[in-house]
């Protein structure tokens, strides 16, 4: 890793985030407008981009700046965990209002008046791959890429794809991360209806990315291992990664659980792997931002390694589907 970015409810700086989160009380859930205003996107973007895409655009710019990647961007890979569609509620309200007849939705009215009432580019707000594409277009990122739907753990697949892409020579630099908004009213309604919202954390939003290069380029922080298991209790699937984690002492663990059940599972894993490590549960201060949470956790781990004196940091994330993702980072040479 040679750089990172984090667009969170607590601002846009990943450096010092461990200290900030350790001192914080309670969780903040929404990315402050001032953070987005710090680097305004082109006005046209606002007609086409979901909130998650706008967070991703800013996160990509910040990560590229942080890594010092200003040239040859057409070769840079981009792998992103993304969430559900996130179209503007104003557009949806306009469309639905024009489609009502006698208090009921009328398909006939929708086909004409309803569709005419919405922005022609509304579909681009809905397509969740545009969470990746808007930023790639604006930043000129032309390398291998993929958008992975994520309830949390899926973002670790984006990390894995980025690592594979570098290891197989498809690209020598890549951004990996996630962007999402659990604050979108439709998503929030779904989470409330399914009773999966955690009263201790809450659904939040944001984006985060890490900048990866090949090992022979001598980065300061290494990704030693990663894994995803569809069941947080599946020790066999996580075995290899956990074995790697236990090879040497881990002194910092970042948890990004969705909900209390997942928190207990992750804490159990943490105690098993490194009972004496310092543990920071970011969902208690940043909320749970679905596809973005694991990537935020990676940046917290990076800060722990860069400025908190940690040598090896483990990130454990779990989504609301019960899947678990693991990533191990270290300041030492990768084994």
């Amino acid at each position: 890793m040679v750089g990172a970015s984090a667009v969170t409810p607590r601002g846009v700086d990943w450096r010092g985030i461990v200290g900030a989160l350790s001192a914080a009380k309670g969780s903040l859930l929404e990315v402050p407008q001032a953070a987005l205003d710090s680097d305004p996107a082109p006005p046209r973007l606002y007609a086409m981009a979901s909130p998650a895409a706008r967070f991703a655009v800013l996160a990509m710019k910040l990560a590229l700046d942080d890594a010092g990647w200003s040239t040859d961007r057409e070769q840079i890979g981009l792998f992103l965990g993304v969430g559900a569609s996130g179209g503007s509620m104003t557009e949806l309200n306009n469309m639905l209002s024009e489609s009502m007849e006698g208090g009921h939705f009328s398909l006939a009215r929708f086909g004409k008046q309803g569709l005419a009432a919405c922005n022609p580019l509304f579909a681009f707000q809905l397509m969740n791959n545009f969470t990746l594409c808007h930023g790639a277009i604006l930043a000129g990122l032309g390398g291998p890429n993929g958008a992975f739907f994520s309830r949390g753990a899926g973002t670790f697949e984006a990390l894995g794809a980025a690592i594979d892409s570098i290891e197989t020579g498809e690209c020598d630099r890549a951004l990996a991360g996630g962007a999402d908004s659990g604050r979108h009213p439709v998503t929030l309604a779904e989470l409330q209806r399914e009773r999966v919202l955690d009263p201790q954390s809450g659904a939040s939003e944001g984006a985060a990315l890490i900048a990866l290069i090949a090992e022979n380029e001598q980065p300061s922080v290494f990704v030693n291992a990663w894994a995803v298991a569809p069941d947080a209790n599946d020790e066999e699937l996580l075995g290899e990664c956990m074995t790697e984690a236990q090879r040497d002492a881990i002194d910092f663990i970042v948890l990004a659980p969705w909900g209390g059940g997942a928190r207990a599972t992750l804490e159990r894993w943490a105690c098993t792997v490194a009972p004496h490590a310092r543990i920071l549960d970011i969902s208690l201060t940043l909320g749970d931002s679905l596809a973005a949470s694991p990537a935020m956790a990676w940046t917290v781990a990076l800060d722990a390694l860069a400025s908190e004196g940690a040598h090896r940091a483990l990130v454990l994330g779990a989504g609301n589907d019960g899947a678990i993702g693991v990533a191990l980072f270290s300041r030492r040479v990768a084994s």
Binding site: S85, M89, M100, P120, I137, G154, A161, R193
Partner: protein, 431 residues
Amino acid sequence: MRRAVITGVGVVSPFGVGTSTFWRALREGRNAVRPIRSFDVTTFQTKIAAEVPIVHANRSWIEGHLTGDDSDLPFDRVLTDAEVSGALRDRKAAFTLLAGAEAWRAAGCGEAERNAPLVIALGLEQALLEDFSPVLRNGAVDWTDEPTLSLPRVRFRSAVDLPAQLLRALFGLKGSVIVNSSACAAGTLAVAQAAALIERGRTDVVLCGGADSMVNPLGIGGMTRLGAPSPRNQSDACRPFDTRRDGLVIGEGAAMFVLEEEERARKRNAPRLGIVAGWGSTQDAYRVTAPRPDGAAARAAMVRAIDKARISRDAIGYVNAHGTGTPLNDPAEAKAIRDTFGPHADHLPVSSIKGAIGHLMAAAGAIEIAASLLAFEADFLPGTTNHRQLDSECPIEVVGESGRSARVDWLLSNSFGFGGQNASIVLGRPQ
């Protein structure tokens, strides 16, 4: 070196259920584009699509397509749960189950394959607009008083990964579930990632593919607002690489595959339908609304795929093009093909099946891989339905409507997505 081979295919296409139905229709040069039946399009500008030929993709329709070989799969339980949750309101859920079951059955999978990961390309949630009526107050959606427990789980919209959840339950899969959401490039990327998992030794078997349906009011309406579909509501609306092309036709369906490590497949005498030999992806990084006109990023994806397969460009004997039939895509892709292959492009057959089955969006790459396998199965290259007059801006060797008999050992399939995501994949004839 480990390689991935395709040992099972399952297809639900606008021609109906089953791979043999799909392949037969392609060989006969049939066209599945017709007036939309699954909802009333009287007031819609776009009135045609390449629909899977069923009005309601419900439980009885699914059960009507099961075979005796499916009896060991818990369809009854999965479909009961799907009905209770409302999952079958999303058409692609049904398509995914049937395509997945066919692929699983065709590859002879069973208990030994339960640890397989699932890598699947899925399109957007299906918006269930009628659900919003009770919560629309004073011109705005308001959930404050919405009852919760009495409502089906799938409400307002289906979850993106809903079909993946159903497949996992059907097969009792224990491996990872990876959902690729890269729009029109997703199907190809999912198959490529599945092959990568096998090549890198992470697994020996993967269930992979793609499913999508935008044949619903917001899907059809939203794409029409973008100006993507042909404005002509006729069965020949999609005309890839033709001078008269004026837009795409939306299709729906699913294609699923079992990918397997080559030696494992050989040892158990599994069918070997094609080798997944190489792949590449790039981003146009150009514009939201248009592909790069110089085709440079598309070309880079093709070159990466061919280089990864460790073959020469001249070894490619057929290109299954993305070929949407839109004014901007086809010339950009043709230029990319010509720049990739040079003089070899003069005699390199290229076809697009989108004239016949429309654009399956997230599933496009997967079903086009399934179509491409005809080149190995039957020495037949699918035709380009509705292609009659080659556009001079598309200087490539386009296979005509009726297809062509040819023996090829290597082929390339392209998928280029909205937003500029490009993916290419190389398939080889199994040895």
